[in-house]
């Protein structure tokens, strides 16, 4: 019985020593944070149309408004109807984004819902965000 206790004690010491090496991470300091996070809460606009017919189509980010208009993006999300929150890891600075939604209702419904040209017309929202080091900046696109 005594021998068993010693064996357990030796095993425990062995495990502790081993784990120490793995989890301690040595003397290396943690890598410095060089980025911030942009979190876009991509809510659909409120329209008098069935929600299942309103679709997210674009969420792209650029460094300047010119780049945004020219389609020179630094990041674009693969947007989904089932996903609302989109996160981008960016170096600190000022960014501009655009978010687009479209409508797949038949007839004139989309037109009356404010989608230019009717079915599959795109409504755009854009915004300016300032990303700070190590911070999460949240923004909600505002559709006119």
């Amino acid at each position: 019985m005594k021998a068993l206790r010693y064996l357990i004690l030796i095993l425990l010491v062995f495990i502790i020593v081993r784990c120490d090496g793995v989890t301690g991470g040595g003397d290396n300091p943690p890598e410095p944070v060089t980025t911030g996070i942009l979190e876009v809460d991509f809510q659909l606009p409120t329209v008098q149309l069935p929600t299942k017919n309103i679709h997210r189509v674009d969420l792209s980010i650029a460094r300047t408004t010119d780049s945004l208009n020219k389609g020179l993006f630094i990041s674009s999300a693969n947007v989904l109807d089932s996903k609302t929150i989109y996160r981008f890891t960016l170096v600190p600075g000022t960014y501009y984004y655009r978010a687009g939604v479209t409508c797949s209702c038949l007839g004139d419904s989309c037109l009356w819902g404010g989608f230019p040209g009717g079915r599959y017309g795109v409504r755009w929202a854009s915004g300016k965000v300032i990303i700070a080091l190590g911070q999460v900046t949240r923004d909600v696109p505002s559709f006119q």
């Binding site: 679709h55 997210r56 189509v57 674009d58 792209s60 389609g71 020179l72 993006f73 630094i74 990041s75 674009s76 999300a77 693969n78 947007v79 989904l80 109807d81 089932s82 996903k83 981008f88 890891t89 687009g100 479209t102 797949s104 599959y120 795109v122």
Partner: protein, 321 residues
């Protein structure tokens, strides 16, 4: 307790008496492959013969097949209701090459019937061998078409492949669908002077998953898109360029039998190898169904084109938007 064991043994022997010990048949065993195509009105059965194995040879994954040289009657029962099945007879065809398609091998004899399968319907395939006086048979429930939720056929929603964002595929498989192969299929033209060559580039994967009624989500690694492009295409010089003229997303769905078939041997990207698995009684082979779903007219995003045309790692491929 002592009385129960003999009774159990007798029951066991009686219940097994209508099964043929296929691996012991010295005149060969029927090998049958039939994957009902839900998108076609012409269905095919492949039939060959194999001399399997002594006991213990089951460790071998693959077996060889030979031509079937005995009379056979092949028919399919379609059970749309619980009372009377609709019967379709298969007839032999010689004019079609037998070394292409699923489970290709020149030794297979080909049989065809005209039938457009119905989703969620039970089918029984029977092969009657008059000289041997037995049936080889199997059943399957025909699958439906997998619904592609994303990529969706929504104009303006474009496909982005970038290092910061993997692509999320969302699929809704239909009942009994348990093996899926899917890919982005790009049509790429390579222009040289006034000539061009059209080629295709595929990016996809396959999933074995038991049907659970849930939406299946799959993360397609964006970096693979660029890595595979570099593997498939080389540097262009002069005024030559490449132009992506079409993108579509295809999903090939298969019945639960295919999931078992592939899981059994971990076939990886070669799911159509002929192997010693059987969904048949009194024979070897596979009876299942397949269906294709497709989203066409997709577009790559501006960011993807920007990376393709400006990033020094891919610029030499000379893609244009």
């Amino acid at each position: 307790m002592n009385r129960i064991i003999p009774i159990f043994l007798i029951l066991l022997l009686v219940s097994c008496s209508n099964e043929l010990p296929v691996n012991m048949d010295s005149s060969g065993v029927p090998v049958v492959y039939c994957v009902l195509d839900m998108d076609d009105s012409l269905q095919q059965v492949r039939l060959a013969k194999s001399f399997l194995p002594q006991e213990g040879d089951f460790e071998q994954d693959h077996y060889t097949v030979e031509q079937w040289n005995e009379p056979v009657e092949i028919y399919l029962e379609e059970w749309t209701d619980a009372h009377t099945p609709v019967i379709y007879n298969f007839s032999r065809v010689n004019e079609i090459s037998q070394d292409t398609g699923f489970f290709a091998d020149p030794s297979f004899q080909l049989y065809q019937t005209y039938l457009k399968p119905i989703e969620n319907t039970v089918y029984y395939l029977y092969l009657w061998f008059p000289e041997r006086q037995y049936f080889t048979y199997a059943s399957t429930t025909a699958i439906g078409h997998t619904e592609i939720i994303n990529p969706a056929a929504i104009p303006s929603r474009k496909v982005t492949f970038s290092e910061t964002d993997d692509y999320i595929i969302e699929l809704q498989p239909q009942p009994n669908t348990e093996f899926l192969q899917f890919n982005f299929h790009l049509t790429i033209e390579q222009h040289s002077g006034d000539d061009f060559i059209q080629g295709h580039f595929n990016l996809g994967d396959q999933v074995n998953q038991e049907y659970n009624g849930q939406v299946m989500t799959y993360l397609l690694n964006s970096e693979r898109f660029y890595a595979d492009l570099l593997k498939q295409y080389d540097t262009l010089t002069g005024n030559d360029y490449r132009h992506i003229t079409g993108i579509e997303f295809n999903v090939f769905s298969y019945g639960s039998e295919l999931r078992i078939y592939n899981q059994l041997y971990d076939n990886g990207s070669q799911p159509w190898e002929i192997q010693s698995y059987s969904s048949f009684r009194n024979g070897f082979g596979l009876f299942s169904s397949k269906a294709k779903s497709r989203t066409a007219n997709l577009e790559l995003s501006d960011l993807t084109y920007y990376i393709l045309t400006n990033d020094p790692r891919y610029k030499h491929l000379k893609f244009v938007q």
